[in-house]
Symmetry: none
Subunit: 211 residues, 4 copies
DNA sequence: AATGAATGAGCCTTCATTCAT
DNA sequence: GATGAATGAAGGCTCATTCAT
């Protein structure tokens, strides 16, 4: 029992070590330009070890992607479920993302720029499952606010782009070194903009949160 | 004279043929995954011909990118300069983009997903010049509206993300096949959202455009 | 004593399990294409266990080969020493092979197609010893029949090809799935053909065996 | 016209040069053990050139195999169609093979030991077509001799093994360095043996060829 | 004896680019 | 301008083998 968990822990540590190395390389030169040898050197392990744990370069990229998405999603849900008003919730989507991106630059950049990532059918399936479940939870959370007029009724596919699109675009530029202020620094502007675009036409029907 | 222009026309046609083929391939499998041989096959020409006209794979990608950006920018400026009010102008940024993306799917997708494109120093320089000039023109156009309170005063780097971020995010999903309605179909929603987020806090001071 | 023999039996069982797995893999995809991991999976044991028992991949292949040859040879000698006439003996070489191949498809195929097998010097030595001894025994058995004119006097290296070549060729095709009738089914034809080619020019001088 | 045929000739020469190199390497160390780099070194060309002409290592092996089979088959048919009696024809199958193997050691060895060669579906198809056509021609040639009683009536799949099996087995051993006399040297023995096994039970009904 | 993670040399193949015709 | 054979560096991946537990 002890033995097995030790082994498992060691395995997990090695995998984590490789994922960290991969993220670092992907950030430096991009996924395509990163070679297994780059990762091997950076993770200080053998080629075989990488393949023993991940099976392929794509396997590394996929696992990194899915794990990153799950962390980001989980962090959002934690923050979101504490919100009591629509305004607070909408702004939290923006500020949470700003803070997370600022704290997790490399991983955020990876998630933001890997839309073209070629994944195995299996990995795609898993990612879709993860994403669908997350989207459902988020929409279930916001549904009441839309129902009571605090938020506008819009085509369902437009909510996320309107709320998250601006801060994501800003983050993309910041991560590319084109902007100097971190997302965390300008988050209030984007939170306000998102709420302006989302709040019910006649103003929110729920009471403004104190503070 | 006639001979030369004929030759030039033929050359232009061949270049255009290759660029079209390249865009098609890039759209299908991505830039990195596209090989010169893919382009050769698709353009129905020889390897040597491609190198004669573009010098390198990166040369094709760069020319395609810069030409695309210029077309998109020019189209925006044409539409924008017809606008007399801040509201009309802001909404035009959104609707023009929606329409252009819908009409130029492949090229739009290429521009939207080639942030990682490795370009020669020369090409990068050229692209920056083109972009800087465009951004300057756009900001000069909007400056009066900000000055007279019709639009909010915000950190300069936040304007573009707030106005264009949502429709770009939507376009990205649509181009990826995740959304069904074209940007052109939902542009009004995004135009309205952009204006809600950008209009002066006390309401626009300029008169509403008739119509 | 009991303990030791139990251990030995267990060891022998594990070795046998691995050899069976290896033969199965070799038959399916060929020796070269079979990986240690294939065998491991098929034998349901660990990599280390395989190396503990056989030392190398070549060790497995060699042991399997030599063991197979010995079984085949032993079976032939058993059947052969019961024969009293040249005709019976020659035909027995054919029919014994037919029956053995039919009953031991995979092993026979392995022996028949592993001419290229790279073996250690030690294993090669052992195989040669085994083969030389067998050939010597067989030739000593047949010598009297040649001496008394019941069988033809031919160049020594032609006897085995003439007697066994046809049924081996047939077996090769059958094992490859190209022929439908098993060697056992057509053995009489090949036995007759072998005898026709081997019998003394003036007819056999020994009496035809009854039945 | 001249230009094109020159180019074609050059291409054919290069392909031939690579095939020769491959055969040499295959003979020396076996197909599996031969690396592309071995062939490249031996053919004195670049890796890319090999792939330009053959697509893959398997492509080389297949083309070599099919071309070899066709040469062997064509040579047999040429010799066979000159035969007027069953005896001459059966013996020709044996002697032609003996001579061809002796003159084409490497190619013969390649054909004889590549039964396990992994070929593309396309190549397999082509090989089957080639073989089927050859077998049909050969059987059509021999049919009259079986019909008129000059040769025995046997199960159809046994003819080839009985006639060719012995000399093939001998050739295999000789090519492996186990026998010293070339097949051409001992061909008469095998020709006689084949005829003994194949001739009609009551003796040939056609006249013995003079000489 | 058993386990399975780790190793690393080596292989097949790709592909941007060059250049003789 | 066009052609396509030739080049060769480089990369993803395999796999027999080792070894600490």
């Amino acid at each position: 029992m002890v033995r097995r968990s030790t082994v498992r822990a060691a395995t997990a540590a090695r995998k984590s070590q490789i994922l960290d190395a991969a993220l670092s390389c992907f950030t430096d030169v991009g996924i395509e330009a990163t070679t297994i040898d780059d990762i091997r050197r950076c993770a200080d392990c053998s080629t075989g070890s990488i393949y023993h744990h991940f099976g392929s370069k794509e396997g590394i990229a996929s696992e990194l992607f899915i794990e990153g998405v799950q962390r980001l999603n989980a962090d959002l849900m934690t923050k979101l479920t504490r919100c009591r008003t629509a305004e607070r919730a909408v702004k939290t989507v923006v500020t949470q993302y700003s803070d997370w991106v600022t704290r997790n630059r490399d991983l955020a950049g990876y998630l933001l720029n890997s839309r073209d990532l070629a994944m195995s059918a299996e990995a795609v399936e898993m990612l879709h499952d993860v994403n669908r479940a997350h989207i459902r939870r988020v929409f279930e959370f916001f549904a009441p606010f839309v129902g009571n007029g605090a938020m506008q009724i819009l085509p369902v596919e437009t909510y996320i782009p309107i709320i998250s699109g601006p801060i994501q675009d800003y983050a993309r530029h910041w991560l590319a070194g084109q902007f100097t202020d971190s997302p965390a620094k300008v988050k209030a502007v984007f939170a306000e903009a998102a709420w302006s675009a989302m709040k019910g036409a006649d103003g929110p029907r729920d009471a403004k949160e104190p503070g």
